[in-house]
Amino acid sequence: AGRDYISVVGSSTVYPFSTVVAERFGKSTSFKTPKIESTGTGGGMKLFCKGTGIDTPDISNASRRIKASELTMCHQNGVNHVVEVLIGYDGIVVANDIHAKTFNLTRKDLFLALAKEVPTSNEGELVANPYTLWSQVNAQLPAVKIEVLGPPPTSGTRDAFVELAMEAGCKNFPWIKATKSSDKAQYKSICHTIREDGAYIEAGENDNLIIQKLQKNPDALGIFGFSFLDQNADLVKGALIDGAAPEFATIASGEYPVSRPLYFYVKKAHVAEIPGMQEFLNEFISEKAMGETGYLTDKGLIPLDVDKFNEVKTDTMQMNNLAL
């Protein structure tokens, strides 16, 4: 027999949003509830790009944009028409226990505290990160031990954090910024490499666990997605970054600097053939889901601004093929 349900794979970050839509879709229509696998973005792409056909997924969630190499792979395997849907943003927050001091960080602080090697006062010189206290990084900060619980290198959250927070902080040093054009590899390795001496703790991808660990250890900071802060506002509080507190409005407006886009990708070939595909897409991009006050925002998704939302809506309705 054929497949009468929609199959979605991919990011664990998009999973909480994708599933809400799926559930409402399943409950309010006569179609089956789509199956949403949480495989991680990379694992999802691998499955998604394996080909078209009923034994491949119809949709892949991603907490980063699809890569050229992945798209090429898709094309090679006959997945010629891929539609990209940007669904909103996820803020990445740095938080600590609610009873601890509130941190007011800059991205430069984050870079200095977490990079493997930091620049000295001499231009061009790097030393292994010597800082053990926040106050050494920035005298304004409290004199507590640098201890940050965050995701491992395999995670998209980490990837985004490195790019949006660390690299931005890194650019504060002009000579490093200069290497970007001269020696790109060198630049990346300075800005993107996180210290491995125990100050940064790779704590796995269970954000609830990080939150609970923060409560046991009030000195520590944790890095995780905004929706977890939203739900646990009584337990943890977010640090200000570059003066902006992690809140709905600041993230949506871009004032809060560390947020990343969330996507899903659709195989056009499947839309007509898998029962319910079109209806599911309609539900997802509807105002009541993705809109500014849609139910996805209740779950912590930072919505697109109106223009972007309309653009995405049109692109999706027209099934525009993605090209990178």
């Binding site: 990379g42 491949t56 995670s155 990837d159 491995e196 796995g204 666990l209 053939e273």
Partner: protein
């Protein structure tokens, strides 16, 4: 005809053959009328006849089943010459709606073109299935006719039947080999690709494991180091701590249960202990991360030690508790299996109970205990969740239990479920790690087998 119906039909037919053959032989025996010799029971002739009809037909059925769908698809695609499909997969997709249309409503909802295809499809499907059913059934009939002709009272039916059964038993035993082959097959290809990028030696002997953010091709290639040594050391460190907890506790529990406890205590305590092994590891993980780790940290800091918040010690301790039943159950069994005569020999010399246990029972039960410990160790090596939650993922090359370490399995899981590209060295590394782990346990097992055998030879 539906496959299940066909199988039922074949079974009915086999039953019929069984009775035919049995009847034939019973009649033949009766005609002989001499009962001096013990004869093979007629039912064995029946079994042979039944297998005769069943086995070849089933094999053919399986083969046909394999080619059925491709055949139908090729037929339908011949019919669908006007349907342009860019790849083979698309046909399946095109047919999906047709195949899922199992109610009249859904059929009615199909487009006109698809409705046509729907009818054609069902025509082809019906004829194909009918042909296949005919083939399978005629094979069953032919073999039975052939078998019935061949069978006579001199056929060693019981032996033939038992040979077939023995073959099936051997087949079952060989599944272990097939599984091994399957495992090797499933990790080898990706591992080779990995070793194409990272030299085997630097993987096996490298002391730095730091697959830093290399999610995009243009990122920190420079600092991605794939030296597996820290992972193996980490695995060993945590397993060692776990064994340090579970072996004494498990062994002492086993000793208490098998030597000191009354029967009723034993019958209650043993199953309770076994529950420990059944608790999902996620639960242990939470416990280790949220209760044990902070406690150890507090304790360490109160005596002036610096303890990482995710320490190998916390994960190891909790894991040790989890594997207690592996050690205790098996040790209990082997301790009770030590001949009573040895125990009496020692007691008879005036040894106390504990002296007897330590100096005689445990040495005599050692191979079995070692077996239990090995099982526990392999469980520890294979454990993932506790380490992810309580020991973190940092690949420190250290044997200090107060620091954070990571293990091979944890890395496999995070690498495979992570966000990086699926053909990046990072994802592939997971397969290489899997292969290494598999080879390591295999080697350990071969060694263990030899050691145990040698030990047995010496003392039995």
């Amino acid at each position: 005809m539906k496959i299940s119906a066909l199988i039922i039909l074949l079974l009915v037919f086999a039953a019929f053959s069984y009775f035919m053959a049995k009847q034939k032989i019973t009649t033949a025996y009766r005609q002989r009328q001499q009962k001096t010799k013990i004869l093979t029971l007629p039912k064995y002739f029946g079994y042979v006849a039944a297998l005769c009809s069943l086995l070849p037909a089933l094999i053919v059925m399986l083969l046909l089943q394999l080619i059925e769908e491709p055949y139908i698809n090729s037929e339908i695609s011949n019919y669908l010459t006007h349907y342009e499909h860019s790849s083979d997969n698309d046909l399946g997709l095109y047919l999906n709606e047709i195949k899922s249309a199992d109610t009249a409503d859904k059929v009615a909802a199909l487009s006109a073109e698809k409705q046509q295809v729907y009818h054609r499809y069902h025509e082809i499907e019906t004829t194909t299935k009918r042909t296949h059913t005919t083939i399978v059934l005629s094979i069953a009939v032919l073999f039975v006719i052939w078998g019935m002709r061949k069978i006579n009272t001199d056929t060693p039916a019981r032996k033939v039947f038992e040979k077939i059964i023995e073959g099936l038993l051997l087949l079952a035993a060989s599944i272990a080999i097939m599984t091994t082959v399957g495992i090797v097959f499933s990790v080898l290809f990706e591992s080779t690709r990995f070793f194409g990028e990272v030299p085997v030696l630097s993987f096996m002997l490298g002391t730095e494991w730091s697959p830093q953010t290399a999610i995009r091709a243009d990122q920190v290639g420079s600092s991605a180091a794939f030296g597996a040594v820290p992972l193996f050391i980490g695995t060993m460190l945590i397993s060692f701590i776990a064994l340090l907890v579970s072996v004494p506790l498990g062994l002492m529990s086993a000793i208490y249960l098998s030597e000191y406890a009354s029967h009723s205590v034993r019958s209650v305590a043993k199953p309770i202990l076994e529950i420990l092994a059944g608790i999902p590891t996620v639960v242990y993980g939470f416990f280790a991360a949220l209760t044990v780790a902070p406690w150890i940290r507090g304790l360490g800091e109160s005596i002036g030690l610096s303890v990482a918040s995710e320490s190998a010690l916390a994960a190891g301790l909790v894991m040790g508790i989890m594997i207690i039943p592996f050690v205790s159950s098996l040790s209990d069994d082997v301790l009770s299996a030590v001949p009573q005569s040895l125990k009496e020999g020692s007691l008879g010399l005036g040894a106390t109970h504990s002296e007897t246990i330590i100096k005689v029972l445990i040495p005599a039960a050692l191979p079995g205990i070692v077996g239990g410990v090995l099982l526990a160790a392999s469980r520890a090596i294979g454990e993932t969740m506790i380490v992810v939650m309580a020991a973190g993922l940092a690949a420190n090359l250290t044997v200090n239990p107060l620091e954070a370490v990571t293990t091979v399995t944890v890395q496999i899981v995070t690498l495979l479920t992570g966000d990086q590209e699926f053909d990046s060295a990072k994802t592939l590394a997971a397969f290489a790690l899997g292969l290494m782990l598999f080879v390591t346990t295999l080697v350990l097992n071969v060694i263990a087998l030899h050691v145990v055998r040698k030990y047995r030879e010496q003392y039995e």
